[in-house]
């Protein structure tokens, strides 16, 4: 066959800026929701409110240190910056800053090696699961911020949709996450159908479960920001999900159903990260078998 001399080109820089910009909006919203609103209400000091900005700042600092200084590159790679902010976004608000610094160092330190050896498993997802384990079993914290732990609160549907509810630092606003989805869709290579599969299966099962079993407030239960964030931001990231449409559908359904099971029966509202990591491991194994199988059929074809 002849060669190809042109390639499909999209403005990657523009797309990366759009993604970075939307993550920054999520990060600022996180600082506003968890810090500044309480500062305006007189519940937090200005310094305490400002502390919330430390999360994205540390993420960006780590990205700068590894992406520019250690790799001796003159230009700041947006890919690093995006990942730095992303790490901050899914941290529980009360997660100790020192430990977050360690995670950032660990993430960027491992990044290159991980990409070489385990490119089909998301290191970001692994870091999130690690932070979940640390939060639950070492620091004994949940996703509530300091004020939410001390004051009784009752969030409504609009609160949950626009992000006033409980959740990780920058992932509470489903509205903003959906805006991110629109930004991501400008990337030709973004697997836009994957969030639909995950969310579709999760929301459907959760609806049935609430309607027939628990009889809770349906909309409030459905507005689970972890599911929206993980399915829109994390799951479709390049490298980390199957390429073929039928396997992508299976992958999406697996994550959606798995997240529902963990949420409904084990009270893991953020169980999607665990399921996602597990799905990626399974897919990686399946991929190796698939490669072997195709290599064998190729030998047969030659025969």
């Amino acid at each position: 066959m002849s060669k190809v001399f042109v390639y499909f080109e999209q403005n990657t820089k523009k797309i990366q800026w759009a993604i970075f910009g939307s993550f920054l909006v999520l990060a600022f919203y996180g600082a506003y929701k968890n810090g500044f609103t309480y500062y305006f209400q007189g519940l937090l000091s200005f310094v305490d409110a400002m502390k919330f900005l430390l999360f994205p700042f540390i993420g960006l600092l780590g990205a700068f240190f590894y992406g520019v200084i250690l790799s001796k590159k003159l230009q700041f790679s947006l890919e690093y910056a995006i990942e730095g902010v992303l790490l901050a976004l899914f941290m529980p608000v009360r997660f100790p800053i020192w430990c977050f610094i360690v995670l950032v160092i660990l993430y960027f330190g491992l990044k290159n090696l991980w990409q070489k050896k385990l490119s089909t498993i998301s290191l970001l997802c692994f870091m999130k699961v690690l932070s979940m384990v640390l939060s639950k079993f070492v620091f004994f914290i949940d996703y509530q911020n300091v004020i939410e732990t001390s004051y009784p609160y009752l969030y409504g549907i609009t609160d949950a949709f626009f992000g006033r509810g409980v959740g990780a630092y920058g992932t509470t606003s489903i509205f903003l996450i959906l805006v991110c989805y629109v930004a991501f869709c400008s990337d030709y290579y973004y697997k836009r159908e994957l969030p639909v599969y995950i969310l579709g299966s999760f929301l459907l099962l959760e609806t049935a479960y609430v309607l027939f079993v628990t009889h809770e407030n349906l909309l409030l239960t459905l507005l689970n920001s972890h599911i929206f964030f993980a399915s829109i931001v994390l799951a479709p990231m390049k490298n980390h999900s199957p390429a073929e449409s039928k396997y992508l559908l299976i992958f999406g359904l697996f994550v959606g159903i798995g997240s529902f099971l963990l949420n409904a029966f084990f009270d893991f509202s953020d169980g999607i990260y665990i399921v996602l990591l597990f799905a990626q491991i399974l897919w990686t194994l399946a991929l190796s078998f698939q490669k072997l199988y195709y290599q064998k059929t190729l030998v047969k074809q030659k025969d």
């Binding site: 066959m1 002849s2 001399f5 042109v6 390639y7 999900s241 390429a243 449409s245 074809q301």
Partner: protein, 383 residues
């Protein structure tokens, strides 16, 4: 129906508005096999004279001049090839009388006989057909040969199609053009009114619509239809109606390294280097020469290219370094494949896979964000 892709084009690469002629090559080189028997009586040949037959195809001299010798040179693929060298005497002595003006042809019994018995053409493809489809489209980006052919010879092309319809009793003729080729559409519209048996079909600018499998998604292309390209029809017109042998071809010389891309009429057998020196200016000298397509072409050395009938376009593209990186499992290669082959799986197997259906259109490699040369892993019947 699977969604097809439009290949985006660089708007700055615009072809000049007229055809340029380069018909004065000093030497003409025609590919020959040393075992082919020369059919000439003297070393001095006239234009259009039959020189030899190779695999039943007749080779005619595109110029008048002197046959020198058989030489070994490299061809565009870089392989050794023998060429018959003819020195041009610039007299253009023609072995055919030729008819210079546009003539309306009367379909007499003699004429029908003449068409049916015309050598070097497989007429059997017209037998028992219901429809002639004219492919007036260009798949490869920046190629304008057909647009220019329509611009200058639409009347002749339509007349020849009408003749073919009459001779072979084919009732319907469909003329296909791409929606963005407004020039061709407007030119043809000016003449089509006189032919009630002809209709116009405007098709989207998708790739690779010229392939029969893809074309058949837009109009019935089946055993009852015969697809002809505009060039093929015009060549028939010239040979049968005008009684002139094909001595020149239109080729597009284009790319981001040239100042003004051009469509050039050039004698068959002319070394490309000569044509380029006489007609082209370059913005950049750091270019690579690509023959016959950016998605399914071959890179070649300019000194090795002799203009033959199968060369339609030569690109002069500024050299770009593209790095192949690891597959990101985006699945786009599978998604864009117009015939649903699985280049992704072929890549996973890391060996060459032959898929009967593969059109070798190059779309999968074109779309790959990791610039993986998927053509190394999958190929069609031609492999």
């Amino acid at each position: 129906m699977k969604k097809l892709l439009t290949i985006s084009k660089d708007a700055s690469i615009k072809v000049a508005s007229t055809i340029y002629d380069y018909l004065a090559a000093d030497h003409i080189y025609l590919p020959i096999d040393p075992t082919d028997k020369l059919l000439i009586h003297s070393k001095n040949v006239t234009k259009g004279e039959l020189l030899y037959r190779h695999k039943k195809k007749g080779y005619y001299s595109p110029v008048s001049g002197k046959v020198l010798k058989i030489e070994e040179k490299k061809n565009k693929e870089g392989k050794k090839q023998y060429y018959l060298n003819i020195k041009n005497d610039y007299q253009e002595n023609d072995s055919y009388a030729g008819i210079s003006e546009f003539t309306t042809v009367k379909i007499s019994t003699d004429f029908v006989k003449k068409v049916r018995e015309y050598p070097d053409y497989s007429w059997y493809k017209f037998r028992r057909k219901e429809k002639i489809i004219l492919n007036g489209m260009e798949d490869e980006p920046y190629v304008a040969n057909k647009t220019f052919l329509h611009k200058y010879y639409a009347r002749e092309i339509l007349q020849m199609l009408d003749i073919l319809g009459d001779v072979f009793k084919i009732p319907e003729i469909v003329l296909c053009f791409k929606e963005n080729d407004r020039e061709s559409i407007e030119t043809v519209e000016a003449f089509i009114g006189t032919y009630p048996n002809m209709s116009l079909k405007i098709l989207p600018d998708v790739y690779p619509i010229e392939e029969r499998e893809i074309l058949s998604r837009y109009l019935p292309v089946n055993d009852e239809s015969v697809v002809l390209s505009s060039e093929e029809v015009f060549d028939l017109y010239r040979e049968i109606v005008k009684e002139r042998r094909k001595d020149a071809v239109l080729i597009t010389l284009t790319g981001d390294a040239v100042t003004t891309p051009k469509v050039v009429r050039v004698k068959i057998g002319t070394p490309l280097q000569e044509v380029v020196s006489a007609t082209m200016n370059f913005k950049s000298q750091d270019y690579q020469v690509i023959v016959n397509g950016l998605l399914k072409g071959t890179v070649s050395n300019i000194q090795d290219i002799i203009i033959t009938e199968d060369i339609r376009v030569v690109y002069f593209m500024v050299k770009k370094v593209t790095h192949e990186s690891a597959c990101i499992h985006c699945g786009k290669c599978n998604e864009v494949c117009p015939v649903r082959c699985k280049p992704y799986l072929a890549y996973l197997s890391q060996g060459k896979r032959c898929d009967e259906q593969c059109l070798e259109c190059g779309l999968c490699s074109f779309i790959c964000p990791s610039h993986i040369p998927l053509y190394k892993y999958i190929g069609g019947k031609h492999e």
